[in-house]
Amino acid sequence: MSTPSNRQSKSSNKTIKPQDQVVDVTPLTSGGQPSTTLKIESSSSKKTSNTKRNSEAKSLSNASGGAGSGETPLGKNKGYETNKNGGVALGMIETRGLVPAIEAADAMTKAAEVNLIAKELVGGGYVTVMVRGETGAVNASVRAGADACERVGDGLVAAHIIARPDVEVEPALRGSGAKRRS
């Protein structure tokens, strides 16, 4: 998997002080890009320090477009550990058709600080999109997503929020790689 052009290289700049660094969690995208790692930027320079931030991204491959469908177990993804106090909730919206699913995903990620982890083509025209994040954020984002896809045709089938998903569920959250039939 190639490194996206906008991702900064691992070349080190040891002159950057730790207090000048801004640590941010890059949201997972549905475009299959390896964006599940920490993005570190300097306020004084665009160069980055030498970190392990790209090590996990290399193992992510995604045939379905769901960014959670890589080899790395989600529980090991540091991108989800933004707030241990808030936990990592799971939000899912199932829609009838792809358009409401995309509309829902767009609304969810705009409404709150959540990561879009997968888009799954269930079959029979049903599509599921999943987000993860802090419990309150997931709650708000799923409501917004349901609102959005409810407006698009006959889109909303079901929505579900799990405040504390068990770790055993996490492998099931990876996309299956299902593709549309041509």
Binding site: G136, N139, V142, E150, L156, A159, I161, A163
Partner: protein
């Protein structure tokens, strides 16, 4: 606490709320979201256009994870959201 069912495996309290329209479902979910933020406790929520299923699980930080009076009180508070 009318309509709530207590299950043992896994320990939880469940209730299905039915609504006439999506707008009313949404109003309830908004109220529930605000209430959850206020008390910093979030139930599992499953909803469609005209229904919402609420599942309350025991608090994680208590020694023995089972439904307690605190959970029943939380369920009662959720019932009150409908009446407001």
């Amino acid at each position: 606490m009318e309509g709530w069912r207590q299950k043992n495996r896994p320990e939880c309290l469940e209730k299905r709320f039915e609504f006439e329209s999506y707008d009313k479902t949404r109003d309830f979910l908004d109220a529930l979201g605000d209430f959850s933020e206020k008390v910093n406790r979030f139930p599992d929520i499953s909803f469609g256009k005209t229904y919402a299923n609420i599942t309350i699980r025991p608090l994680e930080d208590i020694e023995k994870e089972e439904i307690s009076n605190v959970d029943h009180e939380f369920a009662t508070q959720i019932d009150l959201l409908i009446k407001k």
